[in-house]
């Protein structure tokens, strides 16, 4: 009888240790909400093969999950309001919203969802994911650099990353002006600050 109780206690102890270790593994992954006030999505494209036109998206949201011990568990999800495109010229912004470019009445959102994160070195990871714009989803790979960690004025833990990558807009059916007006390559810079949840 006594031996049965001892064996049962041992099983319970092992189970408790397993659950505890699983919880500690889960605790390594920290979720951050993208702070839109301190984050920026900027793009540039060459105009008439001469100068670069710059623009940004003002409204977006998303989350970043960071697992420092096992970066493969990290992820990012981002949703951009395509109507918030801002190039400093209202006529150009209207043009960008219409079917020549983003067709925002049919496709009001641009989204990115990571599928794989791979550690490159202590401050850099390679993020693979699916970018969806104008109803077309294409894989995108970007090198993301860790830019810092700290606390904001409210005492909340914050974290920063930055990445720059190039896409071809024709892959997303954004073909207007490809014949000499605007370049196909669009360089995107995403500088993000996340607030720990």
């Amino acid at each position: 009888m006594m031996r049965k109780h001892t064996r049962g206690l041992a099983y319970l102890t092992v189970l408790a240790m397993l659950v505890g270790s699983l919880q500690s593994v889960q605790a390594q992954a920290v979720t951050y909400r993208i702070d839109p006030v301190h984050s920026f999505i900027i793009f540039r494209v060459k105009h008439l093969n001469t100068g670069f036109a710059y623009g940004r998206f003002n409204t977006f949201s998303g989350t970043i999950v960071v697992d420092e011990r096992n970066p493969a568990n990290s992820s990012i999800e981002l949703e951009i309001d395509a109507n918030s495109v801002d190039t400093g010229n209202s006529q150009r912004d209207d043009h960008l919203r219409n079917p020549d470019f983003f067709n925002t009445r049919q496709f009001p959102k641009i989204t990115f969802k990571s599928t794989r994160v791979r550690k490159i070195n202590d401050t850099t990871v390679e993020v693979q994911g699916n970018l969806t714009a104008r109803g077309v989803t294409r894989p995108v790979t970007a090198r993301v650099t860790f830019t810092g960690k700290g606390r904001n004025q409210r005492g909340q833990e914050i974290i920063g990353f930055e990445t720059t990558f190039t896409i071809r807009r024709s892959q997303f059916n954004i073909n207007y002006g490809l014949n000499g007006g605007l370049a196909d390559e669009v360089r995107v810079t995403f500088a993000v600050e996340g607030i720990r949840q």
């Binding site: 079917p99 049919q106 002006g177 000499g180």
Partner: protein, 287 residues
């Protein structure tokens, strides 16, 4: 290659395609009804392909329906040119065809909630009925020999391009509409051939495509309902030539009336759209 040369090449290739089919129709009288419609359809397909690239099928992007509808409207264009005793088939076919063709391009606006259901359905049915009326009223213009019909429709294309550019704020829709006008305009030099007429099908298909481009600009770009209504009325102007009392006028007067309306009212309309565009921002944005 510069943007201007590229655009000219596009217009040239599209017009050439239309002209070849119309010449075939002129030589092969029995195939005239089909060739008449094919000229505009193929010309527009060439034009779209060069401006927008290869579209998906079924389209992911609703504005790509413009390309496919240039093909799907072909039976209606052919029906427009069938014998007078079967004309009722054309009238009913155009009505049903327009209702069927105008639904797919605008359904995504209902799905995305940009249009509420009753409003959106009203728009779609309204677009289809207006298009049917425009096609059936204008198609007889295609039987008229001489350069008046292709010239006036080319003017409609020119006015459309200006309004879509400045009012609709879509350079590609403006280019499609303007070059569609140029495609029909190839009928002007061909009009010097003995007995040449572009045909009822050509007019019917061109009017359908103009209407689809304008309504696409209303749904997906910045064209207003007022601008669409005025473009629609201007597109009906060439059909004034068919009014019984106008038909009694001299050929020059029959041509001058719609041409003057298109040039003066259309020109003023483009001017107003241009001024409103310039007033929006101090700096000119030239796309």
């Amino acid at each position: 290659m510069s943007v201007v040369i590229e655009s000219a090449l596009t217009a040239g290739l599209a017009s050439l395609a239309a002209g070849l089919f119309w010449l075939l129709g002129w030589r092969l009288r029995r195939a005239h009804a089909l060739m008449s419609a094919l000229g505009v359809s193929v010309g527009f397909l060439v034009l779209y392909w060069r401006v927008q690239g290869r579209p998906d099928f079924p389209p992911i992007d609703a504005t790509q329906w413009v390309f496919w509808h240039a093909l799907f409207v072909l039976p209606l264009g052919w029906l427009a040119g069938i014998g007078a005793s079967y004309r009722w088939v054309w009238v009913w076919g155009a009505l049903l065809g327009a209702l069927w063709l105008f639904a797919p391009p605008f359904l995504p606006l209902l799905e995305s909630g940009f249009w509420q259901m009753p409003v959106g359905v009203g728009y779609i049915v309204g677009f289809a009925l207006a298009t049917w009326l425009l096609m059936t009223l204008s198609a007889p213009l295609g039987e008229e020999r001489g350069l008046a019909t292709p010239f006036l429709i080319a003017l409609v294309g020119g006015v459309s391009a200006g309004v879509l550019f400045y009012g609709g704020k879509s350079a590609s829709l403006a280019q499609l509409a303007g070059t569609l006008g140029a495609v029909v305009g190839v009928g002007v030099p061909l009009a010097f051939l003995r007995g040449f007429a572009i045909g009822r099908g050509a007019v019917a298909v061109a009017m359908f495509l103009f209407m689809l481009l304008w309504t696409t600009a209303l749904g997906f770009a910045n064209l207003t309902l007022g601008q669409l209504a005025l473009l629609y009325l201007l597109a009906l102007t060439p059909a004034l030539r068919l009014l019984p009392f106008v038909q009694r006028w001299s050929p020059i007067a029959r041509f001058a009336l719609p041409a003057a309306i298109l040039l003066l009212v259309g020109g003023a309309f483009v001017g107003i759209a241009y001024n409103a565009y310039m007033a929006q921002s101090g700096d000119y944005y030239s796309y």
